[in-house]
């Protein structure tokens, strides 16, 4: 067990060490304080947080339905909600065009009636990120709901709590570790999103150019800067993930086996 885990850690650590090793430290500061980079970073953080929030808002109810309501075609719906994970990046963007673009199924009406256009706007970035990120939350939370013993929910119902109150006060806290994990997965996926974003939202500094897009462009002009920007992205998510202490990831387990076996 421990040997396999150690190998896995090594596997993740090596590329990072590699990046740090090859990073052009002497010029790093200049690259980082580049106006464009900072703008892209800010946009990336804002959009990925929005995408995470939307994923939680819509994804948790969806997970609950998949776990707890039995209806014909449930398996198909579950599969549908994971498709965006399999879509090659560009095709994801294309599919979003076909649905929400100016010529899209729904997008054309949004455009005609409300003069609303999602592509090439910051909202479009959020839509693209949500599209690829939400499945991670849905699947994680659904698994947790299934693992949950439904009897605590029964007890809550008999105490006069509605399904909704029960869900908020009993179910959600019980699956908090999974919810946190799912949200982190979704956030990370949104933060790293590239393909659907560049296709659907374009690459406009300040409105749609997120960090991965900036890294992509930096690579065209200055591969060194690309590495530095990627390291910045890594550092930020590292910071967020580390500060999301064990406590957030849930109860109990912390330190149960303090002796290594």
């Amino acid at each position: 067990m421990l040997a396999l885990a150690a190998l896995a850690i090594l596997f993740f650590a090596l590329p990072l060490v590699g990046l740090l090793w090859r990073a052009p430290w002497s010029n790093a500061w200049g690259y980082l304080t580049d106006d464009n980079a900072l703008t892209a970073l800010r946009l990336s953080l804002i959009c990925s947080l929005w995408a995470t929030a939307l994923s939680v808002l819509f994804g948790v109810p969806l997970a609950w339905v998949l776990a707890r309501v039995s209806f014909p075609g449930r398996g198909a719906v579950r599969a549908l909600c994971t498709l965006s994970m399999v879509l090659p990046p560009v095709v994801g963007g294309l599919a979003l065009f076909f649905a929400l673009g100016r010529r899209g199924l729904v997008g054309q009406w949004l455009y005609r009636w409300f003069d609303l256009q999602l592509p090439f706007t910051t909202a479009g970035v959020v839509v693209a990120q949500t599209f690829v990120a939400m499945p991670f939350l849905v699947i994680t939370v659904e698994a947790a709901l299934r693992q949950l013993d439904g009897r605590a929910e029964d007890a809550s119902r008999t105490l006069g709590a509605s399904r909704w109150y029960t869900f908020r006060r009993v179910t959600l806290p019980a699956i908090r570790p999974a919810l946190a994990a799912g949200a982190v997965l979704a956030w990370a996926r949104a933060l790293g999103e590239f393909g659907a974003t560049i296709t659907f939202a374009g690459n406009f500094p300040g409105t749609t150019q997120t960090m991965p897009l900036a890294v992509y462009l930096a690579r065209e002009t200055n591969p060194e800067q690309a590495i530095v920007l990627a390291l910045l992205l890594i550092a930020i998510s590292f910071g967020v993930l580390v500060s999301l202490r064990d406590r957030w990831f849930g109860r109990g387990a912390a330190g149960r086996h303090s002796v290594l076996a």
Partner: protein
């Protein structure tokens, strides 16, 4: 104005078909062997297990009737349930657990916590308010669950072995508290228990459930004086023989003949008390009013200065003799003896 239920439900190997009627202010104790379906009955009443046929009405309001597609969700039934394995919410403090029902009914937090704290004091857990359920011992958790269910003052209270995990000292106290609280409101209560003492102390009426059917109801005294099931007979410690009476003889289902004093013909039960059984090593030529059945000793069980002896034969029996008698006869498991009972010592009543 009562709880009236006709329950039908198929669940795994359980085939539940039971009828219950609890009047306001009444406490019905539900007794029966493990797996009889007692907990399932409570789940049906609570709305956690919808019945497949029948009807449940609380205060004349139908809450479950498949025939008319009526189903009232558990949270709208005004019930309180104390579950067999507590089911406290692990992520809340014990106080929050007890306050939960009131909070769910939109009571302000302060009120809910005050009421909950009173209940915590009442069940002797005052100092555990801010603990997590995990830090409670089994018995403490059971008491917290009790407080949680009682805090919402439900119309119907369903208790699944509420005292089972309590220690002897607390048990008497909680039983007393429980009775005091139960007397102070006019709702209906159904309590599952294994302990006849609980039933005696708390219940107005008992119902015996066996393999999904109610086999007997009445006061504890009525039920125990005329057992109608193996379970009740074991509870009271007597032998129960089922059969058909014809011409002063009870013909058992296994083909044995039990000579009885006098009884109306038809399907009947006969009760034979262990200490009215005489064991002899050689069959005696007795009067016809004496029953005499050979049996193999399967069990010897000492209880103080008496010994209970299990016999396997045409009429399986448990006899009770003194240690002195045992020593005199030098009985061992596997020996064959003859059990002899006077017809007048056998009580017979219609099934």
């Amino acid at each position: 104005m009562s709880l009236a239920a006709t329950l039908q439900l198929q669940l795994g190997s359980l085939d539940l078909q039971a009828e219950l009627d609890v009047r306001p202010g009444e406490l019905l104790a539900l007794l029966g062997p493990n797996g009889a379906g007692k907990s399932t009955v409570l789940r049906c009443l609570a709305g956690l297990a919808p019945i497949t046929a029948g009807r449940i009405a609380i205060d004349d309001i139908v809450v479950d009737e498949p025939a008319t597609h009526s189903f009232v969700e558990p949270e709208h039934r005004s019930i309180g349930v104390v579950f067999q394995d507590y089911l406290l919410f692990e992520h809340m403090t014990v106080l929050e657990n007890v306050a939960y029902g009131l909070r769910a009914r939109r009571q302000p937090k302060a009120t809910a916590h005050r009421v909950a704290r009173e209940w915590m004091e009442r069940v002797g857990l005052g100092e555990y308010c801010d603990q997590r359920p995990r830090a409670l011992s089994g018995g403490q958790a059971q008491r917290a669950a009790l407080a949680r269910a009682l805090a919402t003052s439900p119309r119907v209270l369903l208790l699944d072995e509420p005292l089972a995990a309590l220690d002897a000292g607390t048990r008497a106290g909680v039983r007393r508290d429980l009775r005091r609280h139960l007397q102070s409101f006019d709702g209906m209560r159904v309590m599952v228990t294994h302990d006849p003492v609980d039933a005696y102390a708390l219940a107005d009426r008992v119902a015996i459930l066996d393999e999904g059917r109610i086999v007997q109801t009445g006061t504890l005294a009525e039920v125990t004086s005329h057992p109608r099931s193996r379970y009740v007979a074991d509870l009271v410690g007597v032998n129960l023989v089922a059969g058909t009476v014809l011409d002063g003889v009870l013909h058992t289902d296994t083909g044995a003949r039990v000579v009885i004093a006098d009884a109306a013909p038809g399907a009947s039960f006969a009760v034979i008390r262990p200490h009215s059984i005489l064991l002899v090593q050689h069959p005696a030529d007795g009067a016809s009013a004496r029953n005499q059945w050979p049996g193999v000793i399967t069990e010897l069980d000492r209880l103080g200065d008496r010994v209970r002896i299990g016999l396997d034969g045409a009429v399986p029996l448990t006899a009770e003799i003194t240690i002195a008698a045992l020593d005199a006869m030098e009985l061992r498991p596997g020996d064959t003896v003859h059990a002899s009972v006077k017809a007048t010592d056998i009580e017979v009543y219609p099934a």
